[in-house]
């Protein structure tokens, strides 16, 4: 293969990151280019159209649908209060009057002469868009949002759940191969982003929820625990809107897999600092991976370290196996044979030889490794 390609994830100690923050609907941007903002600051706001309550007045008034608009006592666009009469009809020479009352406070939005349905829309729901990261406003998307720039350490995870949140980093395991369990979580972790090693257990997640932890970053998680936590199988991996009070970012995969040392050390180095995390993952074309952003001095204009992303592989490249039987093992490429090699499955594929940290030398399909960046 001319270019060895691996879908490597970004882990970088220092980078200049741009984040586009967009409202779900058009609205008002309330910051200006050059403003310094904090993660919890509101940068734009809008109003989502309120909930809608339909009311069919045909049966209530004993009329035909075509007459519905003529029976209205309130105009389209007029505000109404709950139990206020909005339509009436009279019958038997005006002796009997039937009325229809508004079931909710709101505004009359439409009256149908086909169905007799009156749509009442309740008050709009305000939506506020937070900055999510500490940074500087570098661009305004008129009526839509802003572009923020931040100097940060940036870690991409492989899978996550839960949306955007932020908190102070607390590393609760002493090594990347230690498991984050419930007993390690204290009340003092409330409001923090806690860091685990090779795995976070279901017990730890439950305890973290109770303690008010805002987020968890760990190497692995058991899919069985994830199902127990969410109450359903993930199925199609489009996450980020789970109904859980904390966000989880998994850096390596499912099962017990030590967090990459570089990732762990980077998080440890920033212990006590504020991190913004987002568990949202979309494994599809236009993939979205979960992330950890640790803002550094936002006024610091010093050079960012080089972004380390997947590149070409050569002898000496550090790699990590990303599938059984060596999942999680780290090693160095010792040979890149150009001919196809038969695997134990009998499939003939492109492989590489690698020497693991424990001295073992193995042959692995090139498709089953990812490149690890060097410091």
């Amino acid at each position: 293969m001319a270019h060895a390609y691996t879908p490597g994830l970004r882990v970088t100690a220092r980078t200049k990151l741009r984040k586009t923050r967009r409202l779900p609907l058009t609205g008002d941007v309330i910051v200006e280019v050059g403003d310094q903002v904090k993660a919890d600051d509101i940068v734009a706001r809008t109003e989502l159209p309120g909930a809608v309550t339909p009311l069919n007045i045909v049966n209530r008034l004993g009329i035909v649908a075509e007459d519905a608009p003529h029976c209205m006592t309130k105009e389209i666009g007029e505000k109404v209060e709950m139990n206020e009469v909005i339509a009436e009809s009279s019958s038997f020479f005006g002796l009997f009057t039937s009325t229809a009352k508004a079931p909710v406070d709101g505004t009359i939005e439409s009256v149908s002469d086909v169905t007799g349905q009156v749509i009442i829309r309740q008050a709009p729901v305000p939506v506020e868009l937070k900055a999510y990261v500490d940074g500087k406003v570098v661009d305004i998307l008129e009526n839509e949002g802003v572009v923020l720039e931040t100097n940060c350490a940036f870690i991409q995870g492989i899978f996550g759940i839960g949306g955007e949140t932020n908190g102070e980093i607390a590393v609760v395991v002493n090594a990347p191969e230690r498991t984050l369990t419930g007993t390690m979580i204290k009340d003092s972790h409330a409001g923090k982003i806690i860091i685990g090693g090779d795995m976070v257990t279901l017990g730890a997640i439950q305890k973290a929820k109770k303690a008010g932890v805002k987020g968890i970053v760990a190497g692995g998680i058991d899919d069985t625990d994830l199902k127990e936590l969410l109450g359903y199988d993930i199925g199609v991996a489009i996450t980020g809107s789970e109904d859980i009070p904390l966000s989880i970012v998994i850096t390596e995969g499912f099962g017990k897999i030590a967090m990459a040392n570089r990732t762990f050390q980077l998080l440890r180095q920033h212990e006590g600092k504020k991190a913004s995390i987002n568990g949202a993952t979309q494994i599809r074309a236009g993939v979205i991976r979960p992330e950890v952003i640790i803002t550094q001095d936002i006024s610091d204009e010093s050079e960012a370290t080089e972004d380390i992303v997947a590149g070409s592989m050569s002898v000496g490249t550090q790699i990590r196996a990303i599938r059984e039987p060596y999942f999680g093992h780290i090693g160095t490429v010792t040979e890149l044979p150009s001919e196809l090699v038969a695997l134990p499955t009998e499939a003939k594929v492109r492989t590489l030889k690698a020497k693991f940290e424990n001295g073992e030398e193995v042959t692995i399909p090139r498709a089953n490794v990812e490149i690890i960046e060097k410091d």
């Binding site: 001319a2 359903y232 199925g235 039987p325």
Partner: protein
């Protein structure tokens, strides 16, 4: 884009969700043949996020293997100067991800069900079905529409000339919900109206301003008629426009190709139709990819296609687990495995979609999952393969109110002549026996059925080529693509206590003969090449049936293939694996051994 008249060298790629495959076809003498094939991971993920990067990588592999220089400054050198460049470059793509739809109709079991069938047949995921009588209050329906954010809504309801009130009411709900599309805020949500034509103006009044409204023919013009084609075609067009084009770098790829990019399922469908037409047979084709599994069938000259957008072997593999359940996958695994471990292995494939099985254990697990993905996709196909493309299908008045799908499907396993498999897990199975058994286990063919597999996963490219150069596509398809695996002979019926199931008396063209009685529950393969024949008689025993009635013998002339003749006496209707764990394992091992499926343990 211009198509040269004199074509000798053809480059074709297929951008799958996981892998991009390139083939180079050259004219040798009077014949077009496959020269080499290259493959590279599809690059829709960071750091590249550009499908053309994967295309270039796959082409570079073709260059290395063929010695032909094709790329010049990241562009494709056309036409060929003999030694270098190609005369034409074409491509298919399925790298855009799934289509998520919401459908609505007036009566849940009638128009709403027809609408659901139209949407599923067009390859979408139906997120919810909203109907006037679905038991929900109007405000609950509105909340649901607001919450789900589908890619598209299909609105139907009412027969032509019938009442307009109910369908307009649904339109009012959609209008009130002000639905926002999932992908980007830059465009309006597409809504396809395929209901009562009398209501079109009212629907336009309600929805034209707030949505991207498209009006097509009613999918249920009368109570007894269903006309799904116009709605399906429109969904398909919008899918191409809105969803497939979301694949990063798609526009760049459009500039590289010499002909419009064809969606992968469309291209494979063309080939399956061609086989059915040329051989005048009933065919089922399947293309199992990373994100989707497409099933095609031609029965009674009627072509049907379903795209199961969330059943696949990489991006969608966790959804196979969610839909089939762990037990159904486990039943095909020929060893004991910890449930939690199996689950983790499956979801790890989802998050690292381009990895491949290195050990036999991993391969066996992958092939167990594939059986379930294929089974589920085929079930979906059977349920929805009911109407002719572009032709109205008449329903009998008696089944107007009985919308259950039982017995309505066009898929008839007894009349099925050939199953063709394509896609990584089938085409790249290290032994062809594995592909054959995966398809037998998933589709459970009945009676006499031939099986074939796409040799190296190139049917999509040949499908698009067939629209431009039929001769080249046909020659490569016959000589280099279609691998005949053999014939499966499977009686239907079942027994409580295993007795004798099949009496086989066959003379092979090689002069040998097969004379054997197979017990119920057994599976056995005899080698026989595609050129060879086996003639004689096969008799189903003890209440089993091969299509001529219980215990009635049939005269046969069977063709073989690279695997040969497989006699499957494991029963049908129902087919079942033993509930007892050790009995199940011993059966699986016995079958796998008798078909020589896997090499001896690692």
């Amino acid at each position: 884009m211009s198509i040269p008249e004199n074509i000798n060298v053809i480059l074709a790629t297929d951008c799958g969700s996981t892998t991009t495959k390139a083939i180079l076809i050259e004219k040798v003498g009077d014949e077009f043949r496959l020269r080499v094939r290259g493959e590279a991971p599809t690059t829709v993920e960071a750091p590249f996020e550009d499908v053309t990067r994967g295309v270039i990588n796959a082409i570079e592999e073709v260059e290395e293997l063929s010695g032909r220089q094709i790329l010049k400054n990241s562009d494709i050198q056309t036409p060929s100067d003999g030694m270098n460049g190609v005369d034409i470059y074409i491509s298919t793509s399925s790298a855009g991800g799934g289509l998520q739809m919401m459908v609505s109709g007036v009566v849940k079991t009638m128009t709403a069900e027809s609408a659901e069938r139209a949407a599923l047949g067009a390859g979408s995921i139906v997120m919810d079905v909203i109907a006037s009588n679905d038991g929900r209050l109007p405000h609950e329906r509105i909340e649901r529409i607001r919450h789900l954010r589908p890619d598209m809504i299909l609105l139907s309801g009412g027969i032509d000339g019938g009442t307009v009130k109910h369908v307009v009411e649904l339109a009012e709900l959609i209008e009130a919900a002000k639905p926002q599309p999932r992908l980007g805020s830059g465009y309006k949500l597409p809504v396809i109206y395929a209901g009562n034509k009398e209501a079109r103006d009212k629907i336009r009044e309600r929805l034209e301003d707030v949505t991207d409204l498209q009006v097509v023919d009613n999918l249920r013009p009368t109570l007894e008629e269903e006309n799904l084609a116009p709605a399906r075609e429109k969904i398909h067009d919008l899918f191409m426009e809105h969803v497939m084009a979301q694949a990063p770098g798609y526009k760049k790829l459009m500039h590289l190709t010499d002909a419009p990019i064809m969606p992968t399922p469309g291209a494979v469908g063309l080939l399956i139709q061609a086989i059915a037409e040329d051989e005048e047979i009933d065919v089922v084709g399947v293309d199992i990819g990373g994100a989707t599994t497409d099933v095609f069938s031609v029965f009674e000259e009627t072509f049907n296609r379903t795209v199961s957008a969330n059943l696949g072997m990489s991006y969608s593999v966790a959804n196979v687990l969610a839909e089939s359940g762990l037990e159904n996958i486990l039943r095909w695994v020929p060893f004991e495995i910890d449930n939690a471990d199996l689950r983790n292995r499956i979801v790890n494939k989802m998050i690292r979609p381009t990895t491949i099985p290195q050990t036999l254990t991993e391969l066996k697990i992958e092939q167990a999952i594939a059986r379930e993905a294929l089974r589920l996709a085929f079930e979906q196909h059977k349920s929805f393969a009911t109407s002719l493309k572009g032709v109205q299908r008449a329903r009998d008045i008696s089944d107007t109110f009985d919308q259950s799908m039982a017995g309505e499907t066009l898929v008839n396993l007894e009349s099925l002549d050939l199953i063709v498999g394509s896609g990584g897990v089938l085409s790249h199975a290290p032994r062809r026996q594995q592909a054959m058994l995966m398809m037998i286990d998933a589709f459970l063919p009945e009676g006499i059925t031939e099986l074939a597999v796409d040799s190296i996963f190139m049917m999509p490219q040949l499908g698009v080529l067939s629209t431009l150069h039929r001769q080249a596509a046909t020659q490569v398809f016959e000589k280099d693509c279609l691998i005949r695996l053999g014939t499966c002979i499977a009686p239907f019926g079942s027994m409580r206590k295993p007795k004798e199931a099949l009496k086989i008396d066959l003379e092979l063209s090689s002069g040998e003969s097969i004379s054997e009685t197979l017990p119920y529950g057994d599976l056995i393969t005899y080698p026989l090449t595609f050129e060879g024949t086996a003639t004689g008689e096969i008799t189903p025993l003890n209440g089993l049936d091969l299509g001529k009635g219980k215990n009635s013998p049939i005269k046969v002339e069977l063709r073989g293939g690279i695997v040969g003749l497989t006699f499957d006496a494991r029963g049908r209707r129902p087919f079942g694996l033993p509930d007892d764990e050790s009995e199940r394992l011993s059966k699986l091992l016995h079958w796998y051994e008798s078909m020589n499926i896997y090499p001896d343990e690692e």
